[in-house]
């Protein structure tokens, strides 16, 4: 049984987040009306296909949205502190110390010219004074916790000398060094081999359980999320369309899109000759349909879907953005989509 976090401290609270990209020609809404709460020690899976806004949500929380993008609306509270009104210095402190991020490509955050040890030391020194010996001890300790063999030797290595999986471990180590409250992981295992991915998933899960770090794990892969997260938010075309505890949501999805995603996974439908498939493609951001954004691809769509749906509660801790949510009976993923 997945643990419930209702009583735990809320470390991060995102409310009605809206991130837009403004050019002279048009305004494109990349993230629209995204709200969630992240409790201490919780792993929230953010799932969606490309263009769903899942990555941009992570970047918005970190304040890493580059112009012409900007956060147009909504609040991001870190332990009750509004990051939208925090000073640049305070933001930098929070970013390094309390909220950390890991990216899909480790080389975006590792410097090719510095040794691993120097980069980890930089992370530790950035936010407080710390002695040389302690830096070394803590770096080695963190590498060891991520199952990196002979960590002392690795401190002298340069990123190009490490394999992809090792580099990603180093990135996670750097992010976790200051024991942040929140770790935002943006598809960190997508580019890795399955055996390496399985190792890293497990290491991150154990590490965060021990430190009490809450995680936002962004991924396109529902199976990865299923293995890791406590709670899931499914995004489509910039919006959260369904959210809930992972086991219940995967077992009985309420939103037609969630069910379609689940049934499109090749391994989910053994014995079915053709995969149930969605027609059409994810709408390009900037070209989203009016009303329910999934409407053009949805078999259940009717006139009621022409008005933009809102997130409504549908069970304990569950919400869905659909006027025709699925019931338990038709939520089974074995049947092909009508």
């Amino acid at each position: 049984m997945a643990p419930r976090f209702d009583g735990a401290t809320v470390v991060l609270s995102v409310d009605r987040l809206r991130t837009v990209f403004e050019t002279a020609a048009q305004t494109v809404v990349a993230v629209d009306d995204v709200s969630f709460r992240l409790h201490q020690g919780e792993v929230l899976g953010l799932v969606g296909e490309s263009g769903s806004g899942k990555s941009m949500t992570g970047h918005s929380i970190m304040g890493l949205v580059d112009p012409p993008g900007r956060i147009a609306d909504g609040t991001i509270l870190y332990r009750g502190e509004d990051l939208g009104h925090a000073s640049e210095d305070r933001l930098r402190e929070i970013r390094g110390n309390h909220v950390a991020m890991v990216f899909q490509d480790p080389m975006t955050s590792l410097s090719p010219t510095l040794s691993i040890g120097a980069q980890l030391a930089g992370v530790l020194r950035a936010h407080r004074r710390i002695g040389r010996r302690e830096i070394r001890e803590r770096s080695v300790e963190m590498l060891r916790r991520l199952d990196i063999p002979s960590p002392e030797a690795r401190l002298r290595a340069y990123p190009h000398e490490l394999s992809g999986g090792m580099r990603q471990r180093v990135c996670i180590a750097a992010a976790m060094l200051n024991e942040p409250d929140v770790l935002i992981a943006d598809e960190p295992t997508t580019a890795l081999d399955v055996t390496t991915q399985a190792q890293i998933l497990e290491e991150v899960r154990d590490l965060c359980r021990n430190t009490g770090t809450a995680v936002i794990w962004i991924s396109h892969d529902l199976a990865v999320i299923g293995a890791l997260a406590n709670r899931v938010a499914v995004m489509y075309a910039g919006q959260i369309v369904e959210t809930g505890p992972v086991a219940e949501l995967l077992a009985a999805p309420r939103h037609p899109y969630t069910r379609a995603l689940l049934s499109a996974i090749p391994g989910a439908n053994r014995g079915v000759r053709r995969l149930p498939q969605l027609t059409g493609e994810v709408p390009a951001i900037g070209d989203v349909p009016t009303g329910c954004r999934f409407r053009p691809r949805c078999a259940r769509a009717d006139a009621a879907c022409e008005a933009p749906p809102v997130l409504v509660a549908c069970g304990i801790g569950r919400e869905v953005r659909c006027v025709h949510p699925l019931s338990d009976a038709d939520a089974t993923i074995d049947g092909a989509i009508p």
Partner: protein
């Protein structure tokens, strides 16, 4: 009857520049290069209308093997036979012609289309170059291909950058079909696509296989994808095929410890919070593979023999081959 495609004991090294090349390199002060054995004496056959899946992690040589099969890379050792005829023995013109029967679909759908050509140019070019259809019929042939891959003919005038990843992959498939191949080598054709698009393309592959009576050599790192499309599956590790079996047998009764580890590591729905059975450690460098069985340093069952002797392929069940001393 000989299989449609037979790779007979093929091997491929990279980094060996040949006699003249190595003389030149030395003369110009480059020194010797390190040699990596990307494919290490592999035998695999694809029959008519058969789908053979090839699974493995990055760097295991599966893409190199696919390119050898498609005639893009010449093997350093061994033979490629199409319908029993050794390709290496043919004259250049005949070889080019017979290798048209083996086409390829690539991983990066966008990069596999020439950005300077429109979709129409991409699909017409093979017909023109090989004079495959009378001039008047070429447009019909292209329109027919577009119908088969499920795209409107309005896409013909587009540039590749105006297409989505899924649409690009459809065009890539159509291009491979222009020359009416018997075998299509699919190198990770869906791994760069979104889940919902992945399902569409996988279904397309299945439909085309049936309607055009195609064979596939289907390369993927994703076990569940391979399981869906394949009749037979081969698992590669560090340049060698470690296990080969009919799909049900391989997924139901995996024999090689590496296959077992791969299956355990793949995240699957409904298998949440499973107990870890993942292999430890990193894949060794292909420049310096371990002696004996390549998998022994990571293998939970390795014994002394595995460290010294590379295991031969053995038939552990009818049609089920495994290269493990303990199988």
């Amino acid at each position: 009857m000989s299989p449609l495609l037979l790779l007979d004991e093929v091997g491929r090294d990279f980094g060996s520049p040949g006699a003249l090349g190595s003389w030149l390199r030395r003369g110009l002060g480059h020194g010797e290069r390190r040699i990596v054995r990307a494919v290490d004496e592999v035998t695999i056959a694809v029959g008519r209308q058969e789908v053979v899946g090839l699974v493995g992690e990055s760097g295991c040589g599966k893409s190199t093997l696919g390119r050898i099969a498609a005639g893009l890379i010449a093997p350093s050792r061994g033979e490629v036979r199409v319908d029993g005829v050794a390709i290496a023995g043919l004259s250049a013109a005949v070889r080019r012609r017979s290798m048209l029967r083996v086409q390829m679909v690539f991983q990066s759908a966008t990069a596999s289309l020439n950005p300077r050509q429109t979709v129409r140019e991409i699909l017409l070019e093979p017909l023109r170059v090989h004079r495959l259809a009378p001039r008047a019929e070429r447009d019909d042939r292209v329109a027919d291909l577009m119908r088969r891959i499920g795209l409107h003919t309005g896409f013909l005038s587009r540039d590749p950058h105006q297409l989505s990843g899924g649409q690009c992959q459809r065009i890539g498939i159509a291009r491979a079909l222009t020359v009416a191949p018997d075998l299509v080598v699919c190198d990770e054709p869906v791994s760069a696509l979104d889940v919902s698009i992945q399902a569409q393309i996988l279904n397309l592959f299945q439909d085309l296989q049936e309607s055009l009576k195609l064979s596939y050599l289907f390369i993927s790192h994703d076990l569940s994808v391979v399981e869906r499309v394949s009749d037979r599956v081969a698992v590669m590790y560090l340049g060698r095929i470690v296990e080969e079996a009919p799909v049900a047998s391989l997924f139901g009764r995996p024999s090689h410890p590496y296959t077992v580890a791969l299956l355990a590591a793949a995240p699957r729905l409904g298998a949440q919070r499973r107990v870890a059975a993942v292999v430890k450690g990193e894949r060794p460098s292909p420049y310096n593979p371990p002696a004996g069985c390549h998998f022994h340093p990571r293998c939970p069952r390795a014994v002394e023999l595995c460290r010294r002797v590379a295991p031969e392929r053995r038939e552990v069940a009818p049609g089920h081959w495994s290269a493990c001393h303990l199988a």
